[in-house]
């Protein structure tokens, strides 16, 4: 009893000892904060990865893919049984996307994924990450009129509205340019005619219509447009850009061969993007020219980082710059199926962006409808490259994987893995980082322990007489020692408790604190151009907090063991004589 009374009194009267636990307090607070942020990042990342990768992935390494996949799907259903919640088949190919932007072509390496629209939503969180609210319900791969990314500030005008404007502007531009070309030609002819009066045979070689055009009074107007060829890439009237102006060029010559010969720009683009039969048939089915104003190519959902870049503008605001947007056309190049793959170029219309905030996925994933990709690649409609399974909550992924591995031996060129297997190295790296941080921060608390040790030694020396008195009254050595051990325990509990509360309070307000620090120091604490999170994610694991607190108290008690032993061993007579 006397131990607790004395502990309590010492705690109340020795403020210097409280100062020595400030470091324990800070250490505990830091540990709580760091763990919360690391766990927050990990949980966020895992959730996103898991959302995309689903639970179990069955991939074929063969160039033909998994033939007769419906049969395999049935087999998997039988094997996995009740644990299965969703199953979908995919075609996965490496690909390259070419985006035309302001007359330049930007190429990016991507993963082209053909998805089965109906079943993919059962397995993956795919649609959750799309920008258009309707696509979030169900993806249609058709361009929407407008209304993309309602929550995003400064998202450029997209959809049919934009596409029509762009196509109209392009049409206008093309007409102007054609006119200019024609007049250039006529001028040249006229000049030729004036310089050396030609024999009539020469004049008859040129087409009579162009001669007729040449005589029109627009000649002077054509000559007055010398800047037009350079203005091709500018034309920034409002939202409209001429960047993808050549898009329609591969189509146009099919049905419009009677029209004017393509300009030099057109012809260079043509060599880059040879005519594609699929599109041509699409266009010729309707026996009409592909009209970008009213028609779209097959839809593609691009990862947002493929078509945009995030930067900080002159005012310091985080801004996205879009090379392409929903409504633009892009070219995707991918290998055909079979043992000697050829490159296939296909034109797609961007119908939406995909933003999972996992930079790896956002920068590489592009989604197209499964049956289209099968057809373009020349695969049979029965072949896919991978099958993804979503299992019941709490199902044993590893057990399911192992069962499936027995059903699909490696000899069949099929690999079965869980999402953890695929992201194993990343998860392990994050885990290791967390562990090392924890060890380092615990060392800080250990350092604080030495502070407690020193302070306690001083208190024991200061209390020498009291120790002698207690011993003369019959207090035992262990009894005296326990005063100081209890004192250490109380101080540790106090420091760890206050530290934990401070840490949790910090975590709860971490984003406003980050903002405050930004204002105070002018230094960005959490840079949204680096991370794809808008705010710092946190997750408090109660057990982690408990362990940190217990560990800190343990260190405080350990630090008081030596002073307590010294107090216990103190000779009562010497202690009483001490003045």
């Amino acid at each position: 009893m006397y131990r607790w009374i004395l502990c309590w009194r010492y705690l109340r009267t020795r403020y210097i000892a409280l100062a020595s636990v400030v470091s324990v307090m800070l250490g505990v607070a830091t540990l709580v904060i760091v763990n919360a942020v690391m766990d927050g990042f990990t949980a966020e990342m895992q959730q996103r990865m898991h959302g995309i990768l689903s639970d179990v992935i069955i991939e074929s390494r063969s160039a033909h893919g998994l033939e007769n996949y419906r049969h395999h799907v049935e087999r998997i259903r039988r094997i996995v049984g009740d644990d299965l919640v969703g199953i979908t088949s995919l075609v996965h190919v490496p690909a390259m996307v070419s985006i035309d932007h302001r007359g330049e072509t930007i190429t990016r390496q991507i993963n082209l994924i053909g998805i089965d629209v109906d079943s993919y939503a059962d397995v993956s969180d795919f649609s959750k990450y799309l920008l258009h609210p309707e696509n979030q319900q169900r993806i249609s791969f058709l361009l929407k009129e407008s209304g993309y990314a309602p929550a995003r500030a400064h998202f450029p005008e997209s959809g049919w509205e934009y596409r029509r404007k762009k196509a109209a502007a392009e049409k206008q531009l093309r007409q102007l340019r054609e006119q200019y070309e024609r007049e250039q030609q006529r001028n040249a002819m006229l000049r030729e005619a004036i310089d050396q009066p030609p024999p009539p045979t020469v004049a008859s070689e040129t087409s009579p219509e162009s001669m007729q055009f040449g005589l029109e009074p627009t000649t002077s107007r054509g000559l007055s447009l010398p800047s037009l060829p350079t203005a091709l890439t500018v034309n920034d009237s409002g939202e409209v850009e001429s960047s993808s102006e050549p898009h329609s060029s591969p189509v146009r010559p099919v049905a419009a061969s009677s029209e004017q010969q393509p300009s030099p720009e057109h012809s260079t683009v043509d060599t880059l993007t040879p005519r594609v039969d699929a599109v041509a048939t699409l266009a010729s089915d309707q026996a009409r020219v592909f009209d970008a104003e009213f028609q779209q190519h097959e839809g593609v959902v691009l990862g947002i980082s493929i078509a945009s870049t995030r930067y900080r503008d002159a005012a310091g605001q985080v801004t996205d710059y879009y090379y392409a947007r929903p409504g633009d056309d892009v070219m995707i190049t991918f290998p055909s199926a079979g043992n000697s793959p050829r490159a296939i170029n296909e034109r797609f219309t961007v119908v939406d962006f995909y933003e999972s905030k996992m930079s790896e996925y956002d920068a590489t994933f592009a989604f197209v409808p499964l049956e289209k990709l099968q057809r373009y690649r020349g695969m049979s409609a029965d072949a896919v490259t991978s099958i993804q399974l979503r299992l019941r909550e709490g199902a044993d992924l590893d057990a399911v994987r192992d069962t499936l591995r027995r059903a699909f031996p490696l000899e069949t060129m099929v690999q079965v893995s869980t999402w953890r297997d695929l992201q194993g190295p990343l998860l392990a790296a994050v885990q290791m980082e967390t562990t090392i941080l924890n060890i380092l921060l615990f060392l800080i608390i250990a350092v604080a322990g030495f502070g407690i040790l020193a302070t306690f030694f001083m208190i024991v020396i200061e209390k020498t007489k009291d120790i002698g008195i207690l011993k003369s009254l019959g207090a035992s050595g262990p009894g005296v020692a326990s005063i100081f051990l209890g004192y250490g325990l109380l101080l540790g509990a106090f420091g760890a408790g206050v530290g934990a509360v401070a840490g949790l309070a910090f975590v709860a307000r971490i984003n406003s604190i980050a903002d405050l620090l930004e204002v105070a120091t002018g230094q960005e604490v959490f840079d949204p151009t680096v991370y794809y999170f808008d705010s710092i994610p946190t997750l408090v694991e109660p057990m982690t907090v408990v362990w940190v607190v217990v560990g800190a108290i343990g260190i405080a008690v350990l630090a008081s063991v030596l002073p307590a032993m010294r107090a216990a061993r103190m000779h009562p007579v010497k202690a009483l004589r001490y003045e």
Partner: protein, 266 residues
């Protein structure tokens, strides 16, 4: 002084029935058993301190006995070893050689734990510098031996009885108006009274007093001595008192003089 002398009549008291049952029995030497009314006895004690490798002898072949119900004084010059003898008698220290008996049982060779219990239950001690714990009130200081004795749960269970006894004792020593004062708020005499109350709370058989008046003015010192006499007379408390004041020693039932590390009758 003469007043005091008349007050204290040398007087013999029948020894209280000896029972030290709760001290673990040690093999006692029957030959060495003292006469029944000797409560505390030291036989041929030697004690020396080591200071810078130099052996400084303090007590040499020193013998002492205190009879039940008496006040026994130990007189001597400063540095003659009075306090050392008292500490040995109070088991705070162990003699180099010789034996110490309490109530017929040897106590100098008890284990540390047993000596702690002995001090707590059989012995009360007061000091020249009072030695109250400065952090807690007089009342809590008085309760301290009971807290040590009873442990956490035992104390909680019996705390009403303990508190009552502490209050009675503080009343007995005349400190009922200073119950909840810290030692720093008490005068020297008050502190010594509190120390006496603390020494008595566990109902000890003997009180060891180390210069109880050494730090007090004559008036206050006299009151403390009066209190001790009163306790001796009315409660039959055996007291061993170390003092350098021969006039105080003269008023006690018996006295020994300590010089050159040995005792002699005055």
């Amino acid at each position: 002084m003469s007043e005091l002398a008349t007050q204290i009549r040398p007087r013999r008291r029948q020894g209280e029935p000896a029972h030290a049952a709760d001290i673990a029995l040690q093999p006692t030497e029957p030959l060495a058993a003292p006469s029944a009314d000797v409560l505390l006895e030291a036989r041929n004690i030697t004690k020396s301190y080591r200071r810078n490798r130099l052996e400084v002898p303090v007590l040499r072949d020193c013998s002492f006995s205190a009879r039940t119900g008496e006040i026994t004084a130990i007189v001597g010059q400063s540095g003659s070893g009075k306090s050392t003898l008292l500490h040995l008698l109070g088991t705070l220290d162990i003699p180099d050689s010789g034996e110490i008996y309490f109530d017929g049982r040897r106590i100098d060779n008890l284990s540390r734990r047993q000596r702690d219990r002995f001090r707590n239950q059989k012995l009360g001690m007061i000091f020249q510098f009072y030695h109250l714990l400065p952090e807690i009130t007089a009342y809590q200081n008085v309760l301290l031996p009971m807290m040590i004795q009873a442990g956490f749960w035992g104390y909680l269970k019996n705390r009403t009885a303990f508190r009552q006894r502490a209050q009675q004792l503080l009343q007995r020593v005349g400190l009922e108006h200073r119950l909840h004062h810290r030692p720093s708020e008490l005068s020297g005499g008050e502190m010594q009274r509190a120390a006496i109350a603390r020494a008595l709370i566990a109902s000890p058989q003997i009180l060891l007093a180390d210069e109880p008046t050494g730090n007090l003015d004559q008036q206050t010192g006299k009151r403390i001595l009066d209190l001790l006499n009163d306790l001796n007379e009315n409660d039959g408390l055996t007291i061993v008192m170390v003092t350098h004041d021969e006039s105080i020693a003269a008023q006690c039932h018996s006295a020994v003089v300590l010089s050159n590390g040995t005792t002699r009758r005055p």
